[in-house]
Amino acid sequence: MNTDFLTLQSQFTAFIRNPEHAPVPEGCDPERMKLYHQLFFNNFDGILESTYERTRAHIADDQWQVLVKLFFSTVPQHSPYLVDVPGRFLDFLQEQNAVALSEALLELAAFEATLHECRMAEDIALPEAPVSLPDALFDCAWQPHPQGVLFESAFPVNQADFSLDEVPTEPTLLWIQRDDAGVVQIYNLSAASARWLVLLDAHEDALPGQSLAQLAHELNVAPENLTEFARAQLADWIADGVLIPASGNQHNAACA
């Protein structure tokens, strides 16, 4: 034989990725090489179909095949972890031009990708939870859980039967986070709640009153008018684990 093994390997993978444009590797059976292609392709397709189940349901079979084949044959996967493939597929969907996808469908795909990432997220070290009393909510510094995701969409992507054609007047704002039992929870947020979460994240060293004052300023209302809203919202978020004690904050010694 004249061909070195590295070339043979290159021929082998080239055919698996794209059997319509690559020659059969030297010495290989063409039909069995097609079987290899199908097995490998099915492996990719399987994890994408299960991750993007709802997005997939809105795309015609032939269009989905075009997308997955193009992704499989042209997008190199550098992670040794198969579970990272769906994230790369979202990037691909947003950049590709082969199949026209509506904005609603792309946002649905982004939503499903976020659910996947939350489900698969590694643990990270968190500060000890203080024993918090309702009256002390404003005396501790809180931060959003670092594994939670604030997700914004023009469409109500969390609703199974949302219309892809109608753009609601209000955006959909969600907090997505895996709970202690391993279930990914989705919390609906008002515009004010979502903005406050962003401010709490930006001012994690400060007591909640500071970010609340900024929110009141932005909403053009008196801070005291937001007190009841803020108290209820803080209690809910803390109970749900959406907010955790800000790490290393000087205010929090008194909360423990």
Partner: protein, 282 residues
């Protein structure tokens, strides 16, 4: 747990979902659990706690997917270091991988046969040494199933035994793969088994497959173990002894009770082979 010294240790693959929940709830009579480290190295949350709880009850075997020991690109040292940390933390009985490649310049997440050439043997042996250095332990490599292979300078058996000898590593003998390859490439599976070095066989796999045509079988891990593989397993125990054995099932996974029937069958086959060895020669 196994208390009979003559009983073969048998395990099943641990997968997230119903099977994991059943094992957690029922504590079946298994001697170990096997996981693909790539699917568990970045665990978090409840599933990580469940995993660690099961490891308090069952020994762990690791069977990797992404090392690509025969791949053309450089070994992924960062990945190997993460794997080493996982191994150090969970102390598996052994870590095994596939004698195959699953990458070119990127991952394809499935197994391809390394061309059976002398240069490939040298390439793989060098990479095994490097991987063993980083992992701090011997590698145990599996003979993989394959459906077609590029032009070769030697056959599968010569390629496999040459690598085991030159790299001084161990063999995960997949009995189903021997049978699948013997049909797909028309050789005698018993002769193949008899030619393998006994001292290197540390671990066995058995699994189900899908026969597409009289001369083509796909290694699916999606069905019960087939009769010819049970026969080959009996011969394997006769030759290699009661080597720890995994029942592989990755697709269409039946209820645990059904899997345990196959686990019991593995033990019966091993016991039968053991008893046969003890029979007086006529």
């Amino acid at each position: 747990m196994n208390t009979d010294a003559n009983r073969v240790p048998v395990g099943v693959g641990l997968r997230r979902g119903p099977l994991m929940q059943q094992i957690e709830a029922e504590h079946p009579d298994l001697d170990f659990l096997e996981v693909a480290p790539e699917n568990w190295m970045r665990l978090g949350g409840a599933v990580k706690r469940q995993f660690e709880s099961l490891l308090a009850r069952y020994p762990l075997y690791l069977h990797g997917l992404s090392l690509s020991i025969g791949g053309p690109a450089s070994l992924d040292v960062d990945f190997l270091k993460s794997l080493r940390a996982f191994i150090d933390r969970y102390q598996p009985v052994l870590y095994s991988e596939h004698l195959s490649f699953c990458t070119d310049n990127a991952h394809l997440y499935d197994l391809m046969p390394i061309p059976f050439t002398r240069a490939a043997v040298r390439h793989v042996v060098e990479r095994i040494h490097r991987a063993q250095d980083i992992l701090g332990q011997r590698l145990t490599l599996e003979n993989v199933s394959y459906y077609t292979a590029p032009d070769a300078e030697m056959n599968e058996l010569a390629f496999l035994t040459e690598i085991l000898q030159q790299a001084d590593c161990d063999l995960l003998l997949d009995v189903n793969n021997v049978y699948v390859n013997s049909v797909n490439h028309r050789y005698d599976p018993v002769a193949f088994l008899d030619a393998l070095p006994i001292e290197r066989v540390r671990y066995l796999h058995v699994a189900g497959h899908l026969q597409l045509s009289p001369d083509l079988i796909v290694d699916t891990h999606g069905a019960a173990v087939a009769d010819p593989v049970w026969d080959l397993l009996a011969h394997t125990y006769t030759r290699f002894g009661a080597v720890p054995t995994l029942l592989e099932r990755d697709f269409d996974i039946p209820p645990l009770a059904h899997l345990m029937q196959e686990v019991a069958q593995i033990r019966r086959v091993a016991a039968g082979a053991h008893n046969k060895l003890l029979e007086p020669v006529a």
